[in-house]
Amino acid sequence: MKELDPLLHSQLRLAVMSILMNVEEADFVYLREKNEATAGNLSVQLDKLSAAGYITVEKGFAGKKTRTVCRVTPAGRTAFEAYVAALRTYLNL
């Protein structure tokens, strides 16, 4: 049986990836609200996903406010799909 990607096998990181797989881009505030996570924790998990090359994190401005936008990368997409495929084998789906 395939091993589940440990990077995705964590609640918050998996939730973030699930959202990003479904949209083109989402900002930090949206992800924080949808995941009901603290800013600090979300920031750490986004850094981990970014370091693995699964997402890109782009810091910019929307007017005078800072805005952090996240997007899933092709590598992240592949990893997520592999993770879901592995999950299916575990669940005999």
Partner: protein, 209 residues
């Protein structure tokens, strides 16, 4: 939500829940823009129709320029005032691209008609009818398909069919009278812009309850 490790069942449930949550965002946060273009077109069409029917001078057809002259700056102003969306879906991108394409085609056709007009071929303005009914209709159909909204789809199809009726009428030598073409156009704009916006707005309010 924290960093706990999940079992496969929990993982699958979480993925489904998150996909469901992000799916709920309707890509039509720009309903105001759609309504603005619809209302502006209808008001202009009514004014031009009334002026043409009462005064009978074709010079009032220049009133159509009010649509781009007012609509484009107003559209830019509304986009600037709008908060940057916190999430952007593929539907947003496709929908934007469709209407930008419709807009650019409109500007190009207008420019071409102006050139023809300057050269003395006033009948060239009929091309704007085909644009307004058929190309804009395709924009509404494409929007209806991507956001899965039947009212857009119906409005667009009715407008395209109306456009082809006008072509058929013209080719058959049937007179394109202001008295029937303009009301038909106003109905099509209502069906393509205003009615779908009202329906989507109603659905959004209902889902928010």
């Amino acid at each position: 939500m924290d960093n706990k490790t999940l079992n496969p069942h929990e993982s699958m449930a979480l993925i489904s829940a998150m996909i469901e949550q992000s799916k709920h965002r309707v890509a039509m946060s720009d309903l105001r823009v759609s309504i603005m273009w619809g209302l502006l077109t209808i008001i202009t069409a009514v004014m031009v129709t009334v002026l043409l029917l009462t005064m009978g001078d074709p010079v009032y057809n220049y009133g159509w320029f009010a649509i781009p002259a007012i609509g484009i700056p107003l559209n830019i102003f509304m986009q600037r005032r709008k908060d940057t969306p916190r999430v952007r879906t593929y539907i947003d991108t496709i929908s934007d691209a469709v209407w930008k394409t419709v807009g650019y085609i409109g500007l190009t056709v207008t420019a071409a008609c102006i050139v023809f007009n300057v050269c003395g071929y006033r009948q060239a303005w009929l091309a704007m009818f085909y644009y307004a009914f058929i190309v804009v209709g395709f924009g509404a159909v494409a929007t209806g398909i991507v956001i899965k909204e039947k009212s857009y789809l119906c409005g667009g199809i009715i407008s395209i069919v109306a456009g082809f009726i006008i072509i058929a009428a013209q080719l058959s030598g049937f007179p394109l009278l202001v008295a029937w073409v303009m009301p038909l156009y106003i109905v099509c704009v209502l069906l393509m812009f205003i009615i779908p916006a009202i329906i989507i707005n109603h659905k959004l309010k209902k889902s928010a309850e």
